[in-house]
Amino acid sequence: MTAQSTGPATAAGTTKRAFLELDELMVSFQTEDGVVRAVDGVSFALERGRTMAIVGESGSGKSVTSQAIMGLHSRRAAKITGHAWVDGVDIVNAPDAELRALRGTRMAMIFQDPLSSLHPFYTVGKQLVEAVQAHGEVPKAEARRRAVTMLDRVGIPNAARRVDDYPHSFSGGMRQRAMIAMALINNPALLIADEPTTALDVTVQAQILELIRELQTEYNMAIVLITHDLGVVAESADDVTVMYGGRVVERGGVDEIFSRPSMPYTWGLMSSVPDMQADRGKRLEPIPGQPPSLINLPKGCVFRPRCAYAQHVPDGRCDTERPALTPVDDGHDARCFLTLDQKRTLAVKATGTEEVA
């Protein structure tokens, strides 16, 4: 592993930081209509070799968070505070040159739309070769050899021949693989995957997720997996962060979150998806209403306007006070005023999850 190419681990300080650590990250945008607080104090930690899933409805701040980790926001358009430490470097305050060096070597990103990172006018091979050469003195022949190996690795048939094809001649699934090859060709330690399989058929999705897991083991990558598909989360994540209105509303280990979801928004997400194991006729229980505007957040609990459980909290607290993220269990936190007891009993009713002792 090529470790400290990123300069002295300046701010490593005295406390041991996780490989990826977000600390009260805030991102806001000034728009015509007002200030959009897209990410409002998000914190989490992720070590290498592990996968953190971020789930939540569209507009909850998932992509803005991941772009901040990659240092992709323009400093003019976005106001960013807090910290996003990647291997000891604070992305929020790092100079652009350092960010560029980090991207593509220590961290890489894959998107929902592969064409957004593959250029239509260049062959897949040329783009891979450039990605290799951008980060070190590698002879062309050697870079090309690595390109073919990587394409082969991600399961492109006839890689040695297809390396000279243009992206448009690849099928959707092959483009997704080519983009993964591009992201991984420099063995990054951190991979951010923003809805990597949302546009794909289940058959291709299964292959891509398996591929990502294999490569994760091989390179000991930390992965941030953004998805709205709870099945994908159940299958691939170690930890889960649920976002709503730019905040973390629940987080914990994947088993905890699925067996003991602890606040009404998470319950709502779970009871909205048809359960393949349940009786077919069972009616879905959607979350009523729509996500809030991030310009005018509701007073009190941000989820209050859609929450069916606020009457269980005394004194109308949900209407006036913002709940803090508080522990439910070891490493499991939720942002909700309900008591621990209520969180447990109401969850069983809301989602049909049986508590696993």
Binding site: A234, L269, V273, M276, Q290
Partner: protein, 354 residues
């Protein structure tokens, strides 16, 4: 074109007839010409839909599933004559509409409507919601009882929109609300059948559940029939009474939803279902996934015999030479395969364990 006898029972595949047949297609084909860039000569055809037989009854939902490009949307659009069929016959509400002109189709559209995936592009951005929802009446020259505005507002209320937003424009609505507008428009003429092409695919799960519940309620209220196209197999299982699985323009299997998921009989169905992620982390590693090797063949040059044979792990010599017909192999279940999977006993079924 030869017109087969439509009153003939035909290869009826599924024995859950709920009500009258509102849509009947036989031998439906849709080919798109491939033109050379030079001289625009036709040099081949994309065989998007090949020989589809289907009956849809009042009050039932038939799901169409299959991988991207397998011909679901083309089937849906051709059945409603939004595309001209290359072959076969289409009967809507008892009337053969295969060869009707677009003008003759106008009254037929009262009984058969369509809603689309993209709630953004399917609504004219310059028209108010009131105008959009009432447009089918205008086209049909219908004067709804109680006046246009009142009727539109009733429809808006019925699909969960605020009737006061009658004069707003599509841009002022969220994705889920726009899909409700599309549903209200489709309902305006009180159709018997709605073809829904990926109606919830662009929506968040919470909003998706709202729209699915709405579709179910409307079905019960108006005895609507749906053809429901989607690639999300858990959504289709939830909403459909029967499901047709498509591959390369053909139906590989059609059966009731419970049987399909419990005991898939066609190898392709089995492979498709095995790719669905299991819904709980405790089930990790319990899935026996069947990995399909190779790419989807081109629909302009499909394999001989069984079109699935290039990716089928059960393929034998016979599969390359003989097209397997879609044949009823048990009551209500039809499969196009020479060597279908054995049926699983419904009683002994438990979710996959290790």
């Amino acid at each position: 074109m030869t017109t087969p006898n439509l009153t003939d029972a035909g290869p009826q595949s599924a024995s859950t007839p709920v009500g009258d047949v509102v849509l009947r297609v036989r031998g439906l084909q849709k080919y798109f010409p491939i033109q050379s860039s030079f001289l625009r000569r036709t040099i081949g055809h994309v065989k998007a839909v090949e020989n589809i037989d289907l009956d849809v009854h009042a009050g039932e939902t038939v799901g169409l599933v299959g991988e991207s490009g397998c011909g679901k949307s083309t089937t849906g659009r051709t059945m409603l004559r939004l595309l001209d069929p290359t072959g076969g016959t289409i009967e809507i509400d008892g009337r053969d509409v295969t060869n009707l002109s677009m003008r003759q189709m106008v009254p037929v559209r009262r009984s058969a409507q369509m809603i689309f995936q993209d709630p953004y592009s399917s609504l004219n951005p310059r028209h108010t919601i009131g105008k959009i929802i009432s447009s089918p009446w205008e086209v049909q020259g219908v004067n709804p009882e109680g006046g246009v505005k009142k009727s539109v507002q009733e429809l808006m209320a019925r699909v969960g929109l605020n009737p006061e937003h009658y004069n707003r424009f599509p841009a002022e609505f969220s994705g889920g609300q726009r899909q409700r507008i599309g549903i209200a428009r489709a309902l305006a003429l009180r159709p018997k059948l709605i073809v829904c092409d990926e109606p919830v695919s662009a929506l968040d799960v919470s909003i998706q559940a709202q729209v699915l519940n709405l579709l179910e309620d409307l079905q019960n209220e108006f005895n609507l029939a749906y053809v429901f196209i989607a690639h999300d197999l858990s959504v289709v299982r939830h909403i459909a009474d029967r499901i047709a699985v498509m591959y390369l323009g053909r139906v590989m299997e059609i059966t009731d939803s419970d049987s399909l998921y419990r005991s898939p009989r066609h190898p392709y169905t089995k492979a498709l279902l095995s790719a669905i992620p299991l819904p709980h982390p405790s089930m990790r590693g319990q899935r026996e996934r069947i990995v399909l090797t190779g790419d989807l063949p081109s629909p302009s040059n499909p394999p001989s015999g069984c079109v699935f044979r290039t990716r089928c792990w059960k393929a034998q010599d016979r599969c390359a030479t003989e097209i397997p017909p879609l044949a009823e192999i048990s009551p209500g279940t039809s499969v196009a395969c020479h060597f279908p999977e054995p049926a699983k006993d419904p009683v002994s079924f438990t979710p996959p364990q290790g």
